[in-house]
Symmetry: C2
Subunit: 330 residues, 2 copies
């Protein structure tokens, strides 16, 4: 490997001068030497050793993003937003996927801390497990006490800057919209009870129904993914409208209905949550609550990088989007 010393030697200058020329410094270097160094670096094919730079500078230009599952378009969109924002800041991105294992999440924070990354983004729902959340908080606190910055997309449970989708409010608004179409008997494909995002959406939905004086929905728990929606839909009985707490579950539910010959929306209405872009061509088009995922990811990075020391929590409103997967009741 070519080192800076090789370059300096070849250019006939000191290490210091070579460093100043090549790796951005406030100090000026004369045109002659500057040219000599640049030419030497070019001839030798010099690439700075970032590990060494990080060590010497005490700060890296890498950020870490931790998501549950990259193949889930929800996380892909969020991660993409954050990565675009990172790119404009000249930051590199390390991505970790936990596959929904909270222990993995904690482990990643520790690892990213060890990497001395500039910022850590925790993307995805918190879990309702006090112990595990506590340990994650501890790990984050340790990271932050060493100068690290952190932000979260999800719930404000970690004591760090947070971009919090208005899950309750969005679901409530969706419930009112669906009730406004004349539906009265609802089912909720509620996902796992311990996932705060799922629980919030379920609660917001049920709460709004109660306020409207409508019967409580039939709540069915299950995994938070496509297959979870598929399975849960099988258990729905006697509802005219089914709310899946996220879009991919809704797609699973639609698949289940299609297979059973149940027509959507004629026989049953289905709604989701998130408004996943890659699902926009789904048939029937999915009624959902739109979240600006890309922006949220970018915003989370901004918050993490922000100078302010106080913890910022930003609510992000969802927008109900009625599409053909729901129908107006006669």
């Amino acid at each position: 490997m070519v080192t800076l010393e090789d370059v300096a030697k070849q250019a006939g200058v000191s290490l210091a001068t070579a460093s100043r020329v090549l790796n951005g410094s406030t100090r000026q270097v004369g045109a002659t030497l500057r040219a000599r160094v640049e030419q030497a670096a070019d001839e030798l094919g010099y690439r700075a050793n970032i590990a060494a730079q990080t060590l010497a500078r005490g700060a890296s230009n890498v950020i870490g993003i931790v998501v549950h599952d990259l193949t889930d378009p929800y996380f892909a969109a969020l991660a993409d937003g954050a990565m675009r924002a990172a790119a404009t800041e000249g930051l590199l991105v390390m991505v970790g996927t936990t596959h929904r294992d909270p222990e993995q999440e904690i482990a990643y924070v520790a690892t990213l801390n060890a990497q001395r990354v500039r910022a850590v983004l925790l993307v995805g729902s918190r879990v309702a497990d006090h112990a595990v959340t506590g340990r994650l908080r501890d790990e984050l606190a340790r990271y932050q006490s060493g100068g690290g910055r952190a932000a979260c997309v999800g719930q404000d449970l970690l004591g760090v800057d947070t971009v919090a989708p208005a899950n309750r409010a969005g679901a409530a608004e969706l419930a009112r919209a669906l009730a406004g179409l004349g539906h009265t008997r609802f089912a909720v494909l509620a996902g796992p009870p311990h996932l705060v995002t799922a629980a919030d959406r379920c609660a917001g939905f049920a709460g709004a129904l109660e306020e409207l004086g409508l019967p409580a929905p039939h709540v069915i728990h299950g995994p938070f993914d496509r297959d979870g929606g598929y399975a849960a839909a099988q258990q729905v009985k006697d509802a005219t409208c089914v709310f899946a707490v996220n879009d991919v579950m809704a797609v699973g539910a639609l698949a289940a209905y299609r297979e059973r010959g149940v027509r959507v929306p004629e026989d049953v209405s289905v709604a989701g949550f998130d408004d996943i872009v890659t699902l926009r061509d789904h048939v029937p088009a999915l009624t959902t609550v739109r979240l600006p995922l890309t922006d949220m990811g970018a915003r989370a990075l901004e918050l993490a990088l922000g100078e302010t020391d106080e913890v910022v929590v930003e609510q992000v409103a969802g927008e109900v989007v009625l599409r053909e997967s729901v129908r107006r009741m006669a």
Copy 2:
């Protein structure tokens, strides 16, 4: 930040001993001292500085993956496969997205080289630009000459280990299958001419038709994404079967037809390529050529990490999957 020296001091041992205890060494440390060090590290909340480790060890435990677009499920699946494989090896992953800019790709290789990552994975189609490919090769060669390992998913154009989907063969087989259903007038939504993947699929398809003695397809170029498929589909005239060179384009085409009231497959048959998992619930179900994307990603990482110095090129066969988006001609 707590350093190893702090830990050593607190434990009353030397730096060397602390290092041996905490950061995996071949050397044994006595039980007493070991316990003292571990306790000190725990009390202080020590996290090794990986930049320093990387520098001292001369090798990092990070790999880099460069993809075009993470929100495209094709890349997400590939990246996911690679990341799972990396996780089992205890490697961290840096992900870069080029948004289809070849210059970005080159820049990433340079950056990842600077990071001294263990391996670089270049995921995605090569471009038919000799100059740009040459510069990428140079950059890769420089990286490899410094001990870096690299692999590519796509075409064997870079002189590194490659996982090469059998685009031509797969498209040809698809063409034969569709011809077998009685189709004779074809259109190809061919993507951009300079994208080798797109061009290969198009050529394979057209070649098979020619061998069968069928008329050449109507080839329409355009972007390689959903909107490209949507736009290209508008220009198709007088074909009973449309082959979009990837699934997301096919979905765009389906959307275009749906809007125009053209029924698929009754009025026109549509096929794609890749068999994107998240599209499995699409209506109508998409006829396509299945590629084992997750495995391919994992395999690419294996190849990159493999000890062998000779360049390995692995062909991956695609499997034609006929689904409801195509029909048999009367």
